[in-house]
């Protein structure tokens, strides 16, 4: 069976109402640096990996499963998963 590689980007965000000390600290520091009018700062994390799959549907389904079972805690976090054909130039 043909195996195709996909690059996966998982954007993990704290759910609304969950304490975000890093975002709050950055936002509080901005006026002192001369950046006024910047609000809603949040800090999350990005996880990137390459997955081998039969097709994009397979890659997306397994990545979302991995995301739900391990990469995020649904009590406090949300995530979006973006799947694109792998950029294999790094293997050259």
């Amino acid at each position: 069976m043909l195996v195709v590689r996909y690059d996966v980007l998982v954007d993990v965000r704290l759910r609304r109402g969950i304490a975000d000390p890093a975002g709050a600290t950055i936002e509080r520091a901005l006026p002192a640096l001369g950046y006024d009018g910047v609000v809603g700062v949040t800090v999350g994390k990005t996880v990137r990996f390459t997955i081998e799959a039969t097709d994009k549907v397979d890659a997306t389904s397994r990545s979302e499963d991995l995301c739900a079972s391990f990469l995020t805690n649904p009590v406090i976090e949300d995530a979006t998963v973006t799947v694109t054909p792998a950029d294999d130039r790094s293997d050259a």
């Binding site: 704290l14 304490a19 975000d20 000390p21 600290t25 391990f70 990469l71 805690n73 009590v75 406090i76």
Partner: protein, 225 residues
Amino acid sequence: MSTTVGVVVFPGTNCEMDAVTAVERLGGEGRLLWHADDDVAGVDAVIVPGGFAHGDYLRPGAIARFSPMMGAIARFAADGGPVVGICNGFQVLTEAGLLPGALQKNSGLKFLCQSTVLRVDSTDSVLTRRAVFGAELSVPINHFEGNYTCDVETLAQLQDDDRIVLRYVDNPNGSVDDIAGVCNEERNVVGLMPHPERACDDLLGSVDGEVLIASLLDSSPAVAA
């Protein structure tokens, strides 16, 4: 025969000897359990201690929950074995699904290392059965992610089932409903952010943790039988 308490060690755990020392001061026997082993070696009770299992990478407890030992502890708990998670151990138990909710970062944005006063709000758990209802205990905390949170349905369930066993008298970290410790439905798995094992010696400024550790020693099937 004394109660043997297994104390789990993950890479990055750092409170295991505090737990063993407290257990042994109270007449039990402490035995370290390595996270990569997949059985609890016949112990009577389990403590998942504090520290930074797997460096707290990804989220506290997120990687630890996949250790073979956690499968063994889930089976031990399902058979009624007493399990207590302290601090990082509480985070591990929530990630493993043995306790509801999650621990988010402290609302005051600071790491907290201080004494707190806990109120015993249920004596029906393996950690509080020897305590007096309403008693106030001086027990230290030492955490950045100790702000307990859960959805409103879960909170209502915990309240209705009297599963909030310990509350902060003066909430230090923003935990919903002042929650310091909760138990599972069967009341044999308890998680708490404060460190009772560090309040078992006059030299440490409090012995109020003794009643909690002693409750765990009393809760083992070996004693109950």
